[in-house]
């Protein structure tokens, strides 16, 4: 379980990082997914680009009703309140349930999204917000709606010559309701079913169903789910035609309980 030989680059600015990327190097953020993949020799890049020393890789800024979260912001920073307001409280609650603190200290929100494991927490939760992934390429920044970012198992809308620079989410009013539920048997086990529901006053409520071995399923208008959580969850999940009855039960439960939690205004 030792990696195959690889080169290590630590660019000091973004243009240098992008030029390394064009040469086929692999970005490294917190290393909490790439590290194991290197050790298991599932990934054998010639060069790894350490993004962690790039200016503005981590950090949070709020402007024009949007919160811009640097891709390199760690789960732990989010857990500890790096993001202000209601949005921050919601995301802190999600971050707290990712693995355990040692993983959260290093793992990043951008790394998690770019890794695109359908069971990962950020992958599941972020599409619930009407936000965007900010990709950086040679021609500058590009906005990719979060609902369209993860395309499949470990597959994203990023082009090979782009890095994920930041995630932009709308600032939420204090009354925004939120429900989030995931099933895992112990911390650090990947979720077997995740659902979340966001209801912002004046907007149609949104819901996401994830950890399905496919890209997260975004329910753009989840009004019916909030009105009749149990029946609507059953209807939606029946439509997925999941083969494993246990997984189907979990997914149904996830959606049902996330909706109930949104009513109870958990977090």
């Amino acid at each position: 379980m030792k990696p195959a030989p690889f080169g290590y680059a630590r660019p000091g600015d973004w243009p240098e990082a992008l030029s390394l990327l064009r040469d086929g190097a692999r970005p490294l953020a917190g290393g909490q997914s790439l590290g194991p993949m290197l050790n298991l020799r599932l990934a054998q890049p010639a060069t790894v680009i350490d993004l962690r020393h790039l200016p503005g890789f981590a950090g949070v800024a709020v402007q024009d009703g949007y919160c811009r979260i640097g891709a390199g912001t760690s789960h732990a920073e989010i857990e500890d309140g790096a993001i202000p307001g209601r949005l921050g409280a919601i995301l802190a609650g999600v971050a707290r349930r990712i693995a355990y603190r040692a993983v959260r200290n290093r793992g990043t929100i951008g790394g998690s999204l770019a890794h695109a494991d359908p069971a990962a927490d950020w992958v599941a939760v972020l599409p619930c917000f009407d936000g965007a992934a900010i990709a950086l390429g040679a021609s500058g920044e590009r906005r990719i709606p979060l609902a369209d970012f993860v395309l499949g198992l470990m597959e994203t809308a990023l082009r090979p010559d782009e890095v994920l620079r930041a995630i932009e989410l709308p600032v939420l009013p204090p009354e925004a309701r939120w429900g989030h539920w995931k099933f895992c048997r112990k911390p650090g086990e990947f979720s077997k079913a995740t659902a979340c529901v966001l209801a912002v006053p004046g907007e149609p409520p949104r819901a996401v169903l994830a950890a399905l071995d496919m890209p997260p399923l975004v329910i753009a208008d989840a009004g019916a789910l909030l009105a009749a959580p149990e029946a609507e969850a059953a209807r939606i999940v029946a439509g997925l035609a999941l083969r494993d009855p246990w997984r189907a039960a979990l997914v149904r439960t996830a959606l049902h309980r996330a909706a109930l939690a949104a009513w109870e205004m958990e977090e």
Binding site: M1, F183, K186, D244, P245, W246
Partner: protein, 783 residues
């Protein structure tokens, strides 16, 4: 003469909850494990392992230019195969090549050893080898292993079984007289033991001593030494095995490893220190080797729940080879002798099979066969109780060996030394408000209460093991005790302490006998060059056996000190006594400290009497309890489980263990042993499972897939102790090291079934994963 006052320090002897001496280094991260030890010029080994479960191995192509750094079976001249026979009638012994020869019999079997200055480079070499093999049909299911069309794993065998045992008894009349009869088919899942530290070996040849020095993460260094010497063709004196700090054993390290043999051979051949450190991937893919049992149990009872007879058909998946020294049959064959459990079973029929499959070879895991047996017996008893409409407590009380029958010989000849089994059950139940639980159930809650009671034979000796006829039979356990010239006490023991706290408890035993403060006692273990022979630490034996041996060595040492002390006090032998770390005149007029006596023997011999015992202040003594059939500790586990009916998840609301380990040498350490074992038992009950696909591939390759219980999964357990001394051991202590791991699956699944049966559902297979619980509920709904 110095006057020595009686010490009024806190107690340090047998029964004191002394803090563990070894923790000073462990808590500071200063333990020294194989992975911490390096030697100049050392090479690291990576093994090329079999990617398939069953194949004919046609060839290995070494990377070009690296032919002298890659070694296959054909390169290991003069190295034998590992053989662990048993003299049980009909046992078939396998030849386990240390590197695959001709055939591949399980995924992860070592094929080639690649050496390089670093492990990463060694892995590069392994990755660059190419394998030529022809796949064969795979045997993954122990029940199908003996089918007539099953591929033969050892081709000269008539079928895929190491051993079949039978205990016959005609039970055909019971159907006519029993008030209740149940039959259950039960399964436990294959595990991969997971000590924090994996295996590891560092081998080197010392030309000065003409000795092979093997530093290994091992539980039984002396047995490994014998095995290595035999297989490498060396004199045993030419092999020294050192087991430094070992980060957990549990049976995983109670084995002569193929990797040990290969590393040792390469060290001699290359004349360089050679090290292999197992990583988690190797561990999970090549070593899921225990706990997989299948039972068909039928039990008959009368109206009061008294057992009339039990019939068991048990199969154990023993994997591809017979491991040294415990062999492939120990686990299955034991089922025949321990299934009756703590009960007065009148009639018993039992057939066991040690099935041979394309899986890693079986090793005994903490609890050994008992965890599965307790699960099978206890869940069957609950099924009987439900059928009879009596309480699960009542059916046990109707069958438990009563205290007045102790010592009790059961129908298969096991002798229980002492204890009050019914009292353990009553105490456990008294910890719960069961009326409240029944009210919750009546209100529709998915909650249940479960019991599991068992006894654990530990420290069983010669009279038990000679019958198995495996490569190792424990005899007299020896310990050496000696005073150092400054009056400190050194104990040398062949058992190894890897979490059991023996550096503390053996010091407590010595303190009890000699009065030397434990701070001045050192326990030396883990080195065949420094310690007397011992079969090592396994079978919950160390505290009984090594504890007894240390006590005996210290007693004899005390007599010698007494004789010297008497001379120094100018008193007759009958006028002095040993107390409080000094030899004292009985009339209290004078005393001489043990330090002074030691100084006299070593450095002022002119003061010794002419007729002094020339053995001096160093004694090796042997010990074996009489009878040596083993102690029986016992415990009752009781638990309330709550089930999430939507997801099948099981939560343990409240867990109680009432345990009787006889006289507890250090109650705090016993608590730790029970709790640690209990965590593993919870793993067996709810989490641990290595699934294999139809091609024999293990499917859980990381600890994200192979779930181990952690701090968040183990509830706060309420522990209660009874202390019924064993009449047969030095202080009345009993072996208790495995106990915690035995009870949980039985108690937890009984609790689950108590919740489920009202919905027509019952669980039979372990672990009780959410998917299985939900499937059981679903099946109940359809019924």
């Amino acid at each position: 003469m110095t006057a020595v006052g009686a010490a009024d320090a806190p107690p340090q002897g047998v029964g004191a909850s002394l803090r563990r001496k070894e923790d000073a280094r462990f808590l500071r991260g200063r333990g020294r494990y194989v992975g911490d030890i390096t030697q100049a010029g050392m090479l690291e080994v990576a093994f090329l392992r079999s990617p398939v479960a069953h194949a004919r191995l046609l060839g290995v192509t070494k990377p070009e230019g690296a032919e002298d750094r890659v070694f296959t079976a054909g390169d290991l001249l003069g190295v034998g195969a590992i053989r662990a026979a048993s003299n049980l009638a009909g046992f078939r012994v396998s030849e386990q090549p240390v590197l695959a020869r001709g055939k591949l019999r399980h995924v992860g079997e070592a094929i080639a050893a690649c050496v390089a200055p670093t492990r990463a480079e060694a892995e590069d070499l392994a990755a660059a080898c190419t394998l030529d093999y022809e796949e064969l049909p795979v045997v993954t299911d122990m029940l199908a292993a003996r089918a007539p069309d099953a591929a033969l794993i050892h081709e000269h065998w008539p079928d895929n079984a190491f051993l079949e045992t039978r205990r016959e008894e005609d039970l055909s009349d019971l159907d006519g007289i029993a008030a209740a009869k149940v039959t259950r088919r039960l399964r436990t899942a294959r595990h991969c033991m997971a000590p924090l530290e994996g295996r590891g070996v560092l081998a080197e040849w010392d030309p000065r001593l003409e000795q092979l020095i093997v530093t290994s993460s091992a539980q039984m260094p002396h047995v490994i030494r014998t095995g290595l010497a035999e297989i490498l063709g060396l004199d045993e004196a030419q092999v020294r095995v050192i087991a430094p700090d070992v980060g957990g054993g549990f049976g995983y390290k109670g084995i002569l490893l193929p990797e040990e043999v290969v590393s040792a051979h390469l060290a001699m051949r290359l004349d360089r220190p050679v090290r292999w450190i197992e990583d988690r991937l190797e561990q999970l893919t090549a070593n899921a080797n225990c706990r997989e049992h299948h039972y068909v149990v039928t039990a008959w009872a009368d109206r009061e729940g008294r057992l009339l007879g039990v019939e068991v058909d048990a199969t154990v998946d023993a994997g591809a080879y017979s491991s040294y020294p415990f062999s492939a049959c120990l686990e299955a064959a034991q089922i025949g002798s321990i299934f009756p459990g703590p009960y007065t079973l009148p009639r018993f029929r039992c057939r066991t099979v040690s099935a041979c499959t394309n899986k890693p070879p079986i090793l005994p895991y903490r609890g050994v066969a008992r965890t599965g047996v307790c699960y099978a017996m206890e869940t069957t008893l609950d099924a009987l109780a439900r059928q009879l409409g009596i309480g699960t407590d009542a059916i046990r009380l109707a069958n438990l060996v009563p205290p007045e029958a102790m010592p009790y010989r059961n129908l298969v000849g096991k002798v229980f030394d002492s204890g009050d089994y019914p009292e353990a059950l009553r105490r456990a139940i008294a910890c719960f408000d069961l009326d409240r639980l029944r009210a919750r159930q009546a209100a529709g809650e998915y909650v249940g209460f479960g019991l599991g009671i068992f006894c654990e034979q530990g420290a069983h000796g010669t009279s038990v093991y000679h019958g198995w006829g495996i490569p190792m039979v424990p005899g007299y356990e020896q310990a050496l005790a000696r005073f150092t010239p400054d009056g400190g006490l050194e104990l040398r023991t062949g058992v190894h302490s890897h979490g059991q706290g023996l550096e503390t408890t053996l010091a407590q035993v010595a303190h009890e006998v000699l009065g030397v403060p434990t701070a001045r006692i050192r326990v030396v273990h883990g080195d065949t060059a420094l310690t007397p022979y011992s079969t090592g630490t396994w079978g919950s034996r160390a505290m009984v056996m090594a504890g007894g041996a240390v006590a005996e060595a210290c007693r004899l040492l005390g007599e010698r000190a007494l004789a010297i002390g008497a001379v120094l006090l100018q008193a007759g032998p009958e006028a002095v006594e040993l107390a409080g770390g000094a030899v004292r005149r009985r009339d209290g007029s004078a005393a001489v400290a043990l330090e002074e006596i030691a100084r006299t023997w070593y450095r002022r011999p002119q003061h010794l009497a002419r007729d002094v015992d020339t053995g001096g202040l160093e004694v090796t003594a042997g010990y074996r309890p009489d009878p040596d059939t083993g102690t029986h500790s016992y415990a009752c586990h009781a638990v309330i489980a709550r089930i999430d009916r939507d997801t099948g998840a099981v939560a343990l609301e409240d867990y109680v263990v009432v345990e009787d380990g006889g006289k507890l040498v250090n109650p705090m350490i016993v608590d730790g042993q029970v709790l640690g074992g209990l965590a593993q038992g919870i793993g067996t009950a709810l989490y641990e499972e290595m699934p294999f696909d139809a091609a024999g591939q293990p499917l859980a390759g990381t600890l994200a897939d192979y779930l181990l219980p952690g701090a968040t999964e183990v509830p706060d357990v309420r522990l209660d102790h009874m202390e019924t001394p064993s009449p047969w051991t030095r202080f009345g202590q009993k072996g208790i090291g495995e106990s915690g791991a035995i009870g949980p699956p039985a108690a937890i699944v009984n609790a689950i079934n108590d919740a489920l049966h009202r919905f027509g559902a019952e669980l039979t297979d372990l672990p009780a994963s959410p998917a299985r619980v939900l499937a059981a509920l679903e099946a109940g709904r359809r019924r």
